[in-house]
């Protein structure tokens, strides 16, 4: 019994009572959560590819004809050396904020279902 207790505390992943997957309400909620998760991930990855591989590599020669307004940076060069890094940091920030909000919402949904006796 005590061995189980240590593993649970250390691992910190199992909720006290895992929602019953046989209930339709729970399944629907989980599906909604997962779909939103995937949507966020795909959108962020599209931006990642567009800026990193797109602006930084594929379009870099065409972008080099322009300058970053107000500076001396050729635009393609800037994207490759500085711009893409800035965008990457912002992407992870966006992911953290969006996903943590989604997690909280989903957790509340499950709590609500439990209260109503449907979980």
């Amino acid at each position: 019994m005590s061995k189980e207790k240590i593993t649970q505390e250390n691992r910190n992943i199992k909720q006290k009572s895992f929602p019953d997957l046989h209930r339709l309400g729970v399944r629907a909620s989980l599906n909604r959560y997962w779909r939103k998760n995937v949507t966020y991930t795909i959108v962020l990855l599209v931006v990642w590819a567009a800026v990193g591989l797109g602006c930084g590599v594929l379009l870099a020669d065409r972008l080099n004809l322009y300058k970053l307004p107000g500076t001396g940076f050729p635009l393609g060069f800037w994207f490759a050396h500085q711009g893409s890094i800035i965008v990457f940091v912002l992407l992870i920030l966006a992911y953290c904020l969006l996903m943590n909000r989604l997690d909280t919402k989903h957790h509340n949904e499950l709590e609500q279902l439990k209260k109503e006796g449907k979980a």
Partner: protein
């Protein structure tokens, strides 16, 4: 030795950044980029882009699964012991290659610092790392690396800021890279550092610094290398392992963010240091060839 989640996400991010930037990024990136110009961007984009993949696709799910190693996770996820074995072999290969590179870096630094042969430097470095690791364990290593991050970033920023002020008058090297040269140094008013650098490079017969796709680095080559570096970075075992020593899935995501933020402090400065160094080197050559 894996510590059961007591390190706050910011400290973890700082430690991950310092750990990851300890050899190649700190010692050699500025030099590489100053030789390669635009093409040096493959390293800048590849090594940071991989972190996005790590944060979005790997870290939270690994932490959620509760497993302590990637091969474990793979074996469970795909219900296959063969997959687990493949993951183990890959992890060993990657770790071996990475450690070899790191140890070379350690050898170079110690050999310069203590004025010994590079191989002796490697052995000395190994002994010191061994002592620290066995005495402190993972927690000790993490806090050591937080301190290391501060040393690293200060050491890197000081010359960058100084040269930026000297060349462009702007104390922020990342902005100084794009701004105009001090007229006394450039000889003309209002020419930007990159323009002048491009000019001198062309005069001396090199390709322009900011030109894309020169020589053998054509578009396909650059694209493939960037993609390979991004994917490879996301798969580094010693980076992944830092994401399941945090408190929760939420903390794992934030950890990835903090890590990339602290890494970008250096990575945004490196192009500036590279261009400044290139400018100085090329300018001194330029002076000699003028009649």
């Amino acid at each position: 030795m894996l510590q059961a989640g007591g390190v706050p996400a910011i400290a973890n991010g700082m430690a991950t950044a310092a750990d990851w930037m300890s050899a190649a990024s700190f010692i050699s990136m500025a030099g590489l980029i100053s030789m390669m110009g635009y093409t040096g961007g493959v390293y800048l984009m590849g090594w940071t882009g991989g972190y996005v993949l790590l944060a979005l696709l790997i870290a939270p799910y690994l932490r959620k699964s509760g497993h302590y190693t990637v091969p474990d996770f793979i074996g469970d996820r795909y219900h296959s012991n063969i997959a687990r074995l493949v993951a183990v072999v890959c992890a060993i290969f990657v770790s071996f290659t990475y450690v070899a590179g790191q140890m070379r870096g350690v050898g170079v630094v110690f050999s310069r610092f203590l004025e010994v042969d590079v191989n002796v430097g490697v052995i000395i470095g190994m002994i010191i790392v061994f002592i620290y690791a066995t005495l402190g364990g993972m927690k000790g290593i993490t806090w050591t690396q937080v301190a290391q991050y501060w040393v690293l970033i200060t050491a890197f920023l000081i010359p960058a800021i100084a040269i930026s002020i000297k060349l462009t008058g702007n104390p922020v090297p990342q902005i100084g890279l794009g701004s105009t040269l001090d007229p006394e140094i450039a000889g003309v008013q209002g020419i930007t550092l990159l323009e002048k650098l491009n000019q001198i490079q062309v005069d001396l017969g090199f390709d322009r610094y900011t030109d894309t796709f020169v020589g053998s680095w054509n578009k396909v080559n650059v694209f493939c290398v960037v993609l390979a570096l991004m994917a490879g970075t996301a798969g580094l075992p010693h980076v992944i392992v830092r994401f399941y020593t945090v408190k929760s899935v939420k903390a794992a995501r934030w950890s990835a963010f903090w890590a990339l933020l602290f890494i970008s402090m250096l990575y945004l400065t490196v192009p500036a240091t590279a261009a400044f160094a290139r400018y100085y080197m090329i300018e001194s050559l330029n002076g000699k060839t003028e009649e």
